[in-house]
Symmetry: C2
Subunit: 197 residues, 2 copies
């Protein structure tokens, strides 16, 4: 055993505990309690495992699971950005890259490199795995908002057009899940919990 | 697509949100805030991925990750049992089996069966994957208690002997991690945050 490597791994394991304090805008199902990034990542990992068969393309499910487990770790330094934030770009900012380099950099070099690559691949959204991982990331809050009478859509005045546009990313990962999601969006309009201008 | 299967999968995904409300006895790192089962499971999954190389035996890491992600889902019905509880057995009670059957039973039949099998395999602790998953489950609270000046050991008056005995399960999954854990336990005694009678 290389003791230094193990100690570096333990340092990383301790550092990522902070993910449990990062509050998302979205609330838990049928709830007023904000979800945190660790809970969110856990839920996405299980969603990916359960829904894998609906992926448009064959996927390496272990890679998808790794992606969703680590995708929000950079928020320890960079903070959570709301999907519908108009001031701040959600994707792969310099701040997030710096965070990835610092936090994954706690790990032994080879492992750090592998984690940063997986995070970059998720952010780029080009591979089948990244597309499916991103579809999980968009589907969970949709399920939460419909369970919460509109949730963050109502709270932050987000309308049909924006929701439709952002959620259509689901289609890239899974046509089947997009058909289901589209149904939920239309249902939400019909119920009056999502405004169509 | 079989719509009924998808709706059953969504029902399961909604149901397991309740894992986020199940409080453990253990607190987060350097914190007074109790950890919940979703946060705990997320942390174990990443620990397993990061520490996999230290397993005594070759392991299917995807299976280990599945195990730790689902291992506490039964607590939605059966509740969290403290590792040092002297009244209630921690392992695979009838209550937990019923819970597994109800909650995983929300999934399409084949998937339900597969999840119950993985959960049973974890509980039995006989395979290499189950041994390594269990070593993660014992290591995390050890790291937390040492970061919290004794944490639950102090709070519930748990002494060296009990801790040593319960934590030695780590050895079954990883001799390397056990050597590290043993060091932490002895250090805790030396620091006076764990009582040796």
């Amino acid at each position: 055993m290389n003791t230094e490597d193990l100690l570096n791994q333990i340092a990383f394991i301790k550092e990522i505990d902070k993910v449990k304090y990062i509050q998302r805008k979205t609330k838990l199902f049928n709830s007023n309690r904000n979800e945190n990034d660790a809970e969110h990542s856990w839920h996405l990992a299980l969603m990916a495992i359960v829904l894998a068969e609906h992926s448009n393309e064959p996927i390496d499910i272990l890679k998808v699971v790794k992606m969703v487990l680590i995708h929000d770790i950079v928020e320890i330094d960079a903070g959570d950005v709301f999907l519908y934030d108009t001031q701040k770009n959600h994707d792969n900012t310099d701040e997030e890259r710096l965070a990835a380099s610092r936090i994954f950099g706690l790990l032994p070099e080879k492992q750090a490199k592998a984690f940063i690559e997986i995070w970059e691949e998720f952010e780029a959204g080009a591979t089948n795995e990244a597309k499916f991982a991103k579809s999980m990331d968009r589907l969970e809050p949709l399920l939460q908002n419909t369970s919460n009478n509109g949730g963050t859509w109502k709270e932050f005045g987000v309308g049909y057009q924006k929701v439709y546009e952002k959620k259509s990313v689901i289609k890239e990962g899974s046509q089947t899940l997009w058909t289901y999601a589209e149904g939920l969006i239309n249902e939400s309009v019909a119920k009056g919990i999502l405004k169509k201008e």
